[in-house]
Amino acid sequence: MAGKQDSIWIKLQHIPREILYILIILSMIVPLLRPMGLPITISPQTESLFDSLNTLEPGDVMLEFIDWSAGSMSFHEPGCIAVSFQAVKQGAKLVFLSSATEGPLMYELMLEKFQPVFDEAGYVYGEDYVYLGYVAGQETALAAIASDIRTAFSIDYYGTPLDEIPLMQTVHNYADYSMIISYTMGSPESFVRQFNTQYNVITHIHCGEMMTPTILPFWASGQITGLLNGGVGAAEMEVLNKRPGDAVKLTDVYSFSNILVFIFLLIGNVGFIMQRRMGK
């Protein structure tokens, strides 16, 4: 902690944490209360996902792994809604499932917002979309889903045997999946390994911003076709869908908070460099 007699440069390096936190909170609250509609640029990774979704044809089956938790719901849910909207627009069938424990409840919350889209498109549960529920086992479960989905699930989330569900009568393994997308904060590489590497299934990922740099090599090599970068990626998807939603509202927050953190970084380093120059 800087004392009263310390120079300004030392004080700049010891701004109380409370002040930093208050400023961060303000940088998030103000744009939420007064949205500014700041511009958004579309990244190549999001465009790649959008273009891939546009290759879906009526009847194609897409697997969507609802693997987010309450903590990442703010961006995963709008991302899922935006991607599912595009898939529904193409007439694709959707199989939702979860390999994370909070998945089923996250699905229910997402469905509350997405049901009007299903209703407008005339989608019927069991014929056009289905939710299989949660399966334990992480990558082991993914391997099972890829090789034979019935080894991981015998009934759907509501207790109906898979063979009694019209959609699932034609869905058995990787050969029946046109593409998969995982909304995860866990291990996206496991989806790449079990679906794309093993069976060449088109794989998309929606992960948090901190994970994107490490997933980029997979996108660059083509193992992942589409990659949504956290909240910004979800917002980009909403813009491409021409349906700005919750994610677009948050981009102002991203802008202000990122700039503020940059300012903190600058202040800390200015203080450090000037202190060293002064020889203190």
Binding site: A70, E102, L105, G137, E209, V232, T251, N269
Partner: protein, 214 residues
């Protein structure tokens, strides 16, 4: 001798056989291997689910011990843990996880708390960035400069207003970062292969406990 066989030899033999089987299933087109591997995968799913149940029992036992000891204030949190635990368990088992009752308690208790804890990372990140990201050395300076570029480029308004930031960020991510992470990934991959070799062939036995007399 028999204890050693049970604690060391049997697990090593199982590890050896299952390890070779799963590797064989990945690489070889042998239908019987596929069937056996699928069977083991199903058991893997069951064991994972069972482990969660076992863990729950473990938590209950530990919490009860803590309540019985009444040391410090931890036992109060143990009581609360048991209350919430049984609330969710009874509601889920009684009404079903898809029921409105279960969804209600999830949406009012777990979801807001979980949503609160995750973004707490931000505050610690800010504090860490401010405290530790200093230009002390050349490498540290590069670290700070790259961090600053990525921070600004990730702000949608900056990337829209200053397109060169996007180009710079793309170059850093697509070239530098990808190269570095690919190298780390290669190393991790090779390391994992060697660790697998050590485990399958019984060279790595830390998880099986200590040898007698060591």
């Amino acid at each position: 001798m028999s204890i050693k066989i049970i604690r060391k030899t049997v697990p090593l033999v199982i590890t050896f056989l299952v390890g070779l089987l799963m590797i064989g299933q990945w690489f070889l087109n042998v239908p019987s291997l596929d069937e056996l591997a699928t069977f083991l995968q199903q058991w893997g799913i069951l064991i994972a689910a069972f482990a969660m149940g076992l863990g729950s029992v473990n938590i209950i036992i530990r919490s009860v011990h803590r309540i019985q000891k009444r040391e410090g204030t931890d036992w109060l949190y143990a009581i609360w843990l048991l209350i919430v635990f049984f609330l969710f368990a009874i509601t889920g088992i009684g009404f079903g996880p898809a029921s409105s009752q279960y969804k209600y308690i999830f949406n009012t208790i777990l979801q807001p708390l979980s949503a609160t804890m995750y973004p707490a990372t931000l505050f610690f990140l800010v504090s860490a960035i401010y405290r530790t990201f200093k230009i002390r050395t050349v490498e540290g300076g590069l670290f700070v400069i790259v961090s600053a570029i990525i921070l600004l480029a990730n702000a949608p308004i900056m990337s829209a207003s200053l397109p060169f930031l996007v180009t710079l960020k793309s170059w850093i991510m697509d070239v530098e970062l990808t190269a570095a992470y690919r190298a780390i990934l290669l190393g991790i991959g090779l390391g994992a292969i060697m660790l697998g070799f050590r485990i399958i062939f019984g060279l790595e036995t830390t998880h099986l406990g200590r040898e007698e007399g060591t």
